[in-house]
Amino acid sequence: MALLTGSAQEPGTTVSDLHMVYLRGQISGEEGVMREALRRLAGPQAMDGLLPLIYEAFVIAVQQKFGPAFTRSQVIRLVAQVRAVLGEGAELVDPVTAEAEVLLALGQRVPASADGTVRAAAQMAVLDVIVRDLDLDEDAIATLLNQARQNTGRRAVSAQPTE
């Protein structure tokens, strides 16, 4: 476990329109859209922008859901809800990692998993459930994703080494 406060992101990582299409398809449960976006995402760095985009969308969604006041109990129950929704696939989300990710998104300093894949899986699953819970329509999802894209860009700029 390492103490992390956000997503690890390489300087210069950019989010493409295809990343946006993929995540929108994922959130909306449109498998065809996701598959088509994945097919068109080619090249060694093609996926680099996706994880930071998922992370930023996750942070926005978590903050929208909980606001400034929240309890640990609410976080525990949310993660349990996420795993219940997944049913047999509940094993895909590590509950301790998922709770830590939510708490980190809410500004708490807690130990996070050092495994980026496990973290991303937790973020994606929680994001999915929160979007459904908040009952966001297409416009609201588009706003969330655009904001996430902007935040990804800002984070990438602030991660650039200064001369």
Partner: protein, 144 residues
Amino acid sequence: MPVSDEQFATLSAQLAGRFDEHKRLLDELDPIAARTGYSALVSAAFSIAVDRRFAKNGDVGRVVEFVSDVRARSEATAQIDPRTAERVILAVYTDEQIDDIDPRTSFETQLVLLAALIADAGYDTPALDEFLAEARQVADQWLS
């Protein structure tokens, strides 16, 4: 060696919510004997309590929900590991294997879950006595 009266009284005090008495009795337990007798009594009580609550309708979703509910009750209960808690419950009535879980962790997790199961069951004194007597009988069989 069967469960001793002291070990039985210790768990009775805890599950009846007499926490000061429980702490005093726990401090007085012979630590060597407690590793077998008291552990067996807790495990037997836990197995019976889990069986009563989950055996008839114990899909994983209900177990996940129960564990999260227990962990959401206090800062102390939030400390138990959710996966471990789910697995020790499932091990009672499914083929879930828990050999890889440290015995102390398993015991402490069972104790927290047992207290919650009993609190949720809302037993009155005769029902709690009947439950504990059954647990003692099972533990004694295990120890014989």
